[in-house]
Subunit: 362 residues, 2 copies
């Protein structure tokens, strides 16, 4: 027996580990908004779409969070899932048959699992394991998971398309760090990479999820019909690219370093995702909707939030390419630009989506 | 539903993480000898004692390594287990029914799981997860594990018995770091702690292991009938205690710090273990034997080996109590003492034991 793929098949872009002031753990309030907004829909999906009766022979219910990072949002999401599951068992009169829950926290091998494990809630009602590896390959045994959850993770491509960094290619993305405001060639290269990645993702999940199992995905995306360049998450990245070019003009960052760097982020539309799911054939789409941006009850301005959120998510990958010394200046500049252009950043169109898939029997 | 115990119930004594010159990863050759010596017995246990037919309905075979540390011995042991299992399936004509293997690497939350995950073999034939938590509590769902392995780990008690550090107790262990060369009161306190710990260990495992599942334990111990003070692993620790007292006399370490410190290590005899297993009642003893010390094919002397092995295993706990600055002097002195007293350290009596237990049906 050989596993289909247990090695890392993709580049890792871990969120900033630890629990310092710029860490992901302390700066993921916008992602938390997404978890909160998803809660009601999660309850609905589990109440209406999950057939727990077929799982009763299993003594353990296996839940996976793909791209969990280091917390705390992943623990909140798991709590929500467990609450909905227990309510479902109880409402069906199956209280005595509530299984043990075993939760698998998955992320790249380079994720800070030590930090994740240290932050695990003390009085949790589930068993916990960390599972290292890219979700673009296999990470779990055949038919072993009952519920898959992934929040704000599948917008990361497995890699930057090679041609985008190739100075001899027509798809070379000179002077930009993202495809969304670039040439048709660059956009096409990313669309192709996205298709390949999502096919790999669905193929792996189709093997791991039991028949009847659900997969709930949330992701920042692009309303169907909106051009890449106008989608709000892309506008935020273009703004960061502009800040980086400012640093090039100031002589702080070399132009070559920018030319050899791209963010492997693709903001898909629900329609695009539906097409790949259709092609894969193993899943039915049970729910697809946009997520309201929760009003976040804190004193920070939206631009501050966007900036700190962006820094927590992007710091690692920028540090790797440009060095730690530019981070404060880059993200300081970014925050200023966000404040100036808040109306552009703050789109009226939905930017977060939720999709619920069900593993069909073959 | 509430889990019986998901919080850490014990003190953690992680092996030295990372992969530096004094790391556990690079200094666990003696433990590796134990893995090698156990291989033949492991094969025998799986060939003769494991009833794989009863597991055929499970699509995944779950293996746990308790107290795995950071590698590489744990990966070697897992390879040995998988080889023996696959051979068994094949020899029974069940080749087409070989399940997926899912291996759970367990250790304290403070273990360096990041390092463990980075060292996972690239082309492994199993899925891998890390499971943080003390094995003196529950770490897995009910009846979820088919094979449990634990090598050189259960000699660590969950804690130092409180009275041993209590200056008002008759069991105060002044001027020593271990029970083995101490008073009857101190020895009794450790015997009691050991009994409680092993009861907790067996109680938790009885719930986690499926009926018919095997548990293979190896541990440094004390031949039945040998006094605590004469057992070779205890002699090694007494020698380390003597080195520490030398540093007290030199004024490098304060006497109070030694008096408030004890190593929570207990070297049980196979007879003692058998008594606790009998009392627990959920396991049959399928095999109990001593492990030959493998001849290690390297150029280091035995005293060098013992010293570097001791440092890799003990450095963390000594650093916590006495500070990093004393480590080189302490373990340098220890190596010298080992060389002088190698005949004492090198016992003719067995010091490593292997026990195979089978989970009985209730």
């Amino acid at each position: 027996m050989a596993l289909e793929n247990t090695s890392e098949v993709s580049e890792a872009h871990p969120m900033k580990g630890g629990d310092g002031p710029n860490s992901y753990a302390k700066n993921s309030i916008l992602q938390r908004g997404s978890v909160d907004a998803a809660k009601e829909l999660l309850n609905k999906a589990i109440a209406e779409k999950l057939d727990i009766e077929i799982f009763l022979p299993s003594r353990t219910f296996h839940i996976a969070d793909l791209g969990c990072s280091t917390g705390p949002n992943t623990f909140l999401a798991v709590e929500n899932i467990l609450e909905a599951l227990e309510f479902k068992y109880q409402s069906r009169g199956l209280h005595s048959q509530i299984p043990d829950f075993f939760v698998f926290f998955n992320d790249h091998t380079s994720n800070d699992f030590n930090m994740l494990f240290k932050s695990l809630p003390q009085n949790r009602r589930y068993y916990a394991a960390g599972v290292p590896g890219s979700f673009y390959g296999r990470v779990f045994p055949n038919a072993s998971i009952h519920f898959i959850y992934s929040s704000t993770a599948i917008q990361w491509l497995s890699r930057v398309p090679k041609e985008v960094l190739d100075t001899n290619s027509p798809a070379w993305n000179k002077g930009r760090i993202h495809y969304s405001n670039s040439t048709d060639e660059v956009i096409r290269a990313h669309e192709t990479q996205y298709s390949e990645d999502m096919e790999s993702f669905l193929h792996a999940r189709a093997q791991e999820l039991v028949y009847g199992g659900l997969m709930l995905l949330t992701f920042p995306g692009r309303p169907s019909g909106t051009p890449h360049s106008d989608a709000s998450p892309n506008v935020c990245i273009q703004l960061l690219g502009a800040c980086l070019m400012d640093l090039v003009r100031k002589g702080v960052v070399s132009e070559e370093k920018v030319d050899s760097f791209n963010l492997p982020l693709y903001h898909m539309s629900p329609q695009e995702l539906a097409a790949v799911i259709e092609q894969n054939g193993c899943f039915s789409i049970e729910m697809t909707t946009d997520l309201p941006l929760q009003s976040v009850d804190i004193t920070l301005s939206l631009s501050q939030l966007v900036a700190s959120h962006m820094r927590a998510g992007m710091e690692g990958i920028f540090k790797q390419q440009f060095g730690e010394e530019i981070l404060d200046e880059l993200f300081g500049l970014y925050r200023k630009k966000c404040e100036e252009q808040i109306s552009t950043v703050k789109s009226e169109k939905p930017v977060n989506f939720l999709v619920v898939l069900r593993r069909k029997a073959d």
